[in-house]
């Protein structure tokens, strides 16, 4: 026998299965007549027939007079609400997973697809490593509908994209988001709204090309509502503050050894110790040699030293009822703060890919010894707008800076796992039992924060204290 004769060697379809196929084809073909629209009586019959089948997906009639409609209305003084009206339409029992693609690209655009199964994000890059446009799949909820709010709308219009209703808004710039466009296209057949966002420098013609090439293709995979991103989830307010609560504890100063539980990349706990052995401040980035992060180079002035940081204080508007309010501007000096930390594997077993997260915190120690982050630090992290009463107490809730002097995350460090075996670079590749590994860190810091500077050697949220090592009092200027 030959492989090309395989068909003769393969099992044949049982007769009973052929009968099943015939009946199913007859049923499905017969649906076409009922769907050509003969009024409410025909529609009701189609839905009943679909429910009677073992099918897991119910087709929704769509068209200019379809059952699912797109509406929009004013939201507050500055926003617009997009409403997907599904009244009188039965939601499908399961959802259809889809691929979203931009099948036509304007000249000079490149295409990059990201995203997982239920939340597809098609991103276009213009070669300058910045995103020009993105599309997001937002499934409609099974019950009820939630308005999609677009903030800072300067103009808008309804249109059709192919056969699908759509709405497009022009957005003005705010401190939380740049200017651009936001469009919603509904696909009732997939119980889906697609949001398309473009950056402010995308032209009308380019936007038209992108929208006209927007394609939604089912993958053949079905999903439960709980597995998909739906309208109600999409419009949920950001819970970042609630999820980012930390507890801090003063643990020592330079030279003190602190103990904590670290972890390996696979999640295994590792008893660890850390000691901050040295801290220095410099006027320039020269001490980093050739390893200066690209984004830090903009902080260097014409004289080769770190330029001043300009801080602009705002009360953030929501773009619906209020707009951003500029409160004040101030200029502060920036320094490069370098710290040496010795991490020790305090267990009696070797450890691989040991994670480290060492953040620079600006902390106020109150008279009752309670600790809190400086309000300027919270406002720089965009957390002030989420804290009730923050703006009333301090007169601002958001800070924007021209430099990196307000940042707290690790911007530069000299020990990392680079072979791609971890999900980031902040891992010590290997620590034998009892071994000490030295890691050097560097941050650009506003000099005005020096008195309140602490190194948080085991930064994490949730359970356990974040240990703070005071470094502000010993900073010297060098270089």
């Amino acid at each position: 026998m030959r492989l090309t004769d395989m068909k003769d060697e393969w099992p044949h379809m049982p007769e009973s299965m052929k009968v099943q196929v015939r009946d199913l084809v007859e049923n499905e073909s017969g649906k076409a007549d009922l769907q050509t629209g003969r009024g409410r009586r025909s529609r009701k019959k189609m839905i009943v027939l679909a429910a009677a089948l073992a099918a897991s997906f119910v087709a929704i009639t769509v068209g200019a007079n379809g059952l699912v409609r797109l509406k929009e209305k004013k939201a507050g003084s500055y926003g617009r609400a997009t409403i997907v009206d599904t009244a009188g339409t039965k939601a499908p029992s399961v959802l259809q997973d889809v691929d979203i693609s931009f099948d036509r690209l304007p000249d000079g655009y490149a295409y990059q697809k990201q995203g997982g199964q239920t939340f597809r994000n098609e991103v276009l890059k213009d070669g300058s490593d910045s995103n020009l446009a993105a599309a997001y799949a937002i499934y409609l909820d099974k019950d009820g509908s939630t308005d999609l709010i677009t903030a800072n709308v300067t103009s808008g219009r309804k249109l059709t994209v192919g056969d699908h209703e759509a709405v497009i808004y022009q957005r003005g710039a705010s401190i939380s988001q740049g200017a651009g466009t936001e469009a919603y296209v509904i696909y009732p057949e997939y119980w889906l709204a697609v949001q398309v966002q473009t950056r402010g420098d995308v032209s009308e013609e380019e936007l038209s090309t992108l929208l006209n090439g927007l394609t939604v293709t089912p993958t053949g995979i079905t999903m439960q509502y709980g597995d998909a991103v739906t309208l109600s989830q999409w419009t949920m307010k950001d819970a970042s503050l609630a999820s980012g609560q930390r507890t801090f504890r003063l643990a020592g100063t330079i030279g003190d050894t602190v103990s904590f539980t670290g972890s390996m990349q696979d999640g295994t706990d590792v008893p660890m110790e850390a000691a901050v052995t040295e801290v220095h401040a410099y006027d320039s980035l020269d001490v980093l040699g050739d390893s200066v992060p690209d984004e830090w180079k903009n902080d260097v002035g014409a004289d080769g030293k770190l330029a001043d940081n300009t801080l602009t204080y705002y009360i953030a508007g929501d773009g619906i009822n209020t707009q951003d309010q500029l409160v004040k501007t101030e200029t502060v000096k920036q320094k490069l703060v370098c710290a040496t930390v010795e991490f020790t594997n305090a267990s009696d077993e070797d450890a691989a890919n040991v994670n480290f997260v060492t953040e620079l915190r600006r902390i106020l120690v109150n008279s009752d010894q309670t600790l809190e982050e400086k309000p300027e630090a919270l406002a720089s992290q965009d957390l002030g707008a989420y804290i009730k009463g923050f703006a009333d107490k301090y007169g601002y809730d958001t800070i924007r800076s021209t430099g990196h002097g307000t940042e707290y995350e690790m911007g530069w460090f000299d020990v990392s796992q680079k072979d791609g075996s971890t999900d980031g670079s902040n891992y010590i590749p290997h620590m034998s039992a009892g071994e000490t590994v030295t890691v050097h860190f560097a941050w650009i810091v506003d000099e005005s924060d020096f008195p309140n500077l602490y190194l948080n050697v085991n930064s994490h949220v949730g359970e356990g204290d974040n240990l703070l090592i005071g470094i502000g009092s010993v900073l010297n200027t060098e270089g």
Binding site: R2, T4, P11, Q20, S29, A32, F57
Partner: protein
């Protein structure tokens, strides 16, 4: 393509659908489920078929996805080498070639079935499986070597 035309295509292709399903799933009950789900989905998604020329390929692609959905659900799937021998001989008299192909890894089985049984090109198979032509060629090569080892002189060399 109209629904009537789709119905005709499905009827013409039903053996093909069964053969491919039988390559991925083993039990006839699962194959029946996969074929049924494929038919329903094809009718409901007919609007996504952009070119009638590729209708058959489109149909097979839906079938492969449905087979994988059934595998994920874990219902009634019995790994080939775990099928009790008594039941195996009682229900079907499978050919040596079928038994040999069913010992291959799934991706090789699918490539072999689509290439040799259904006559798809390497390029079409790569598109259906969402992989590269090189990967498909690799799968076919490894499959042929394994089948040659298992079947020996029973399997003639290809011209």
């Amino acid at each position: 393509m109209t629904k009537k035309q789709l119905g005709e295509l499905i009827t013409e292709s039903q053996e093909s659908l069964y053969r491919v399903a039988k390559t991925i799933l083993i039990g006839d009950a699962d194959c029946a489920d996969a074929v049924s789900e494929t038919i329903v989905r094809a009718f409901s998604c007919l609007g996504t078929l952009k070119n009638d020329r590729y209708a058959r390929t489109w149909l097979i692609r839906i079938l492969i996805n449905e087979c994988r959905n059934i595998q994920r659900r874990g219902a009634r799937i019995v790994p080939f080498d775990e099928v009790p021998e008594r039941e195996f001989h009682r229900k079907e008299n499978y050919s040596d070639l079928y038994k040999a192909v069913m010992t291959l890894p799934e991706e090789q089985r699918i490539a072999v079935a689509l290439y040799y049984m259904e006559g798809y090109t390497v390029r079409e198979i790569a598109s259906m499986e969402g992989t590269t032509q090189s990967a498909v060629k690799n799968r076919l090569l490894r499959a042929r070597r394994t089948l040659k080892t298992l079947l020996g002189d029973q399997l003639e060399d290809e011209e």
